[in-house]
Symmetry: C2
Subunit: 339 residues, 2 copies
């Protein structure tokens, strides 16, 4: 196991950290899903969503977490489905999901919609009239997606679950080549605690302050581009709270990993403004180091005051997905080497 | 601000850490709620539920969290309502809530229940026949609680929100004297990061390992018993992963804080088995130090295989709440000094 002076590589990570129990089942589902849509000639996007945890104890009571309700991923998944993609929605347990996201228990509790009609042995329950107009399009889309079998939902909790699942699902998706997109919207921890360093039981309080020392999570975008996927279109996200870091850090990521797009977003403006950062001249990724990279940024903005269009609030994910579908089209037509 | 060698007292905590923005509004709601039920002669229980977070950054991206879906609190709140109590449900944002807890988005998604009946201008939506029998009692109880105004829901996220809110709501509830119960089921962090030590922006990765050093959260049960509440019946919880620590640690808590009951539970058996730990001889809490304390334990168990009664799965919270209502009755009749 690497020491403090020797950070984990992706290779040493997977060699020393245990796979999650559900992995084999999840991979089997992904394999079946990908094969089905491959034979239908349908494009498939992997959407990752929600935060990952870093357990501090083997019997987990305490964990480090990343702020993310899963709004970006759940909303984008809906628009990818609308655009005709099949979606593997790989999300943090209990984070928002496509369709049901409109009815959070806290802000829009569905029990408030329901009316009981007494009189029968088993009373009928209906949706209140004033709620029906909003619910109908969501429910109709949900039922169509279920019937068509175009949404596969997979679940992770820890950053370890996430890493193993991402590698395995990417491997399955890679059989689609350029028809696969990878939309990495999950908020993944940069740090983790190796199993070998965890305490078995709940850390006891009352013995002074708590000190935690964590290792860096290996940068998996590099092996993802070079080994796990094959000509797939890879989109990563960069979330910052200091706006001045957004573009430099997005460029560094592109340079370092050689994937297609980084979508930069500021924590406080992420619902109204994002920036697409990509390479201007598209050198072959294997010789990228010898070329002075040039980047282009394109901003995407919607009004920050909620405006409505046909009675629905405009969501920036609609524009993000449309732009990515356009770029993915081009990517598929042009071929990797010349793009 | 205390240094490492000088832990925070409750007093120094509230003198140095900022109150949450929503505090005044929440206190006003609690005041109105308590006054209304006081004049109706109704008992009120404060149920705290869910885990607390410890933000590592002022612009929060990363935080420490405690494992808790909020099942214990949300389930218990339903049984307290059934027993005729008014309930202040003070819970972690997005953790489970009474009634809606039966319909988690992940395991029992309500969109799956709904049927669209086309034909009209605005189609009717109804609950599918096979789901109606389960939903009816939940929905009926929910509507009755809403109509009677016996449930007040308050929300916290961080351990700081929790501490300020607990103190303020306890103060409001204390006007009910012995008619108030405090059921502290939230999983509260033992450690926190003082505002003064937080970094403003997202901690940057790529600069080696992460080291976090946290201060101990002050033990607030002591001022709660001595200052914030007045003759109220206080129930705390002790969750452990090492079963051998359960009873010793529960006893220590009772000795140290002088409240009424500790409910001990083991992480892996908490749905089937809990232990009530209380003092056998009931010395006046102010002279407790001079008396050799004697404790009594009473175990409460239900079968670990899901059994059904009238088609419903038995929940241990039903028995916990019934036992506490019995003890609270006795407490009210006997008076604090002689109990």
């Amino acid at each position: 196991m690497p020491t403090n002076s020797q950070p984990f590589s992706a290779e040493s990570y997977f060699a020393t950290q245990p796979p999650p129990q559900a992995l084999d089942n999840d991979v089997a589902s992904a394999k079946e899903f990908v094969a089905r849509h491959a034979s239908a000639g349908r494009r498939v996007v992997l959407v990752t969503s929600g935060g990952t945890t870093v357990p501090l104890e083997l019997n987990v009571v305490r964990f480090l977490d990343n702020f993310s309700a899963g709004t970006r991923g759940a909303t984008s998944a809906e628009y990818f489905l609308k655009a005709g993609y099949a979606v593997i929605f790989m999300h943090r347990q209990f984070s928002l999901q496509p369709f049901s996201r409109h009815y959070s228990h806290s802000t829009n509790p569905f029990l408030d919609f329901l009316e009981i009609h007494n009189g029968n042995d088993l009373p009928q329950i209906t949706i209140a009239h004033d709620k029906r107009r909003d619910l109908l399009p969501v429910l109709t889309a949900y039922k169509a997606v279920q019937a068509a079998g175009v949404l596969l939902t997979l679940t992770f909790v820890t950053v370890n679950d996430y890493l193993w699942l991402l590698r395995a699902v990417s491997h399955e998706l890679s059989t689609l080549g350029k028809n696969a997109m990878y939309y990495l919207a999950a908020a993944v921890s940069d740090f983790f605690l190796p199993t070998q360093k965890m305490s078995e039981h709940k850390i006891q309080s009352g013995k002074g302050n708590l000190s935690i020392e964590m290792d860096q999570v290996p940068k998996i975008l590099k092996p993802m581009v070079d080994e796990w996927t094959k000509d797939g279109y890879i989109v990563s996200f960069k979330l910052e709270t200091d706006p001045s870091l957004l573009i430099p850090k997005s460029r560094t990521a592109l340079e370092r990993y050689g994937h297609q797009v980084v979508i930069g977003n500021d924590l406080h403006r992420r619902k109204y403004e994002v920036v697409f950062v990509s390479r201007k001249h598209k050198p072959n990724s294997h010789t990228a180091e010898t070329v002075v990279p040039e980047f282009e940024e394109s901003w995407l903005r919607i009004p920050s005051s909620p405006s409505t269009e046909d009675g629905n609030v405009k969501e920036i994910e609609e524009d993000i997905v449309n732009e990515l579908v356009r770029r993915h089209d081009k990517w598929i037509q042009t071929g990797k080497s010349s793009l």
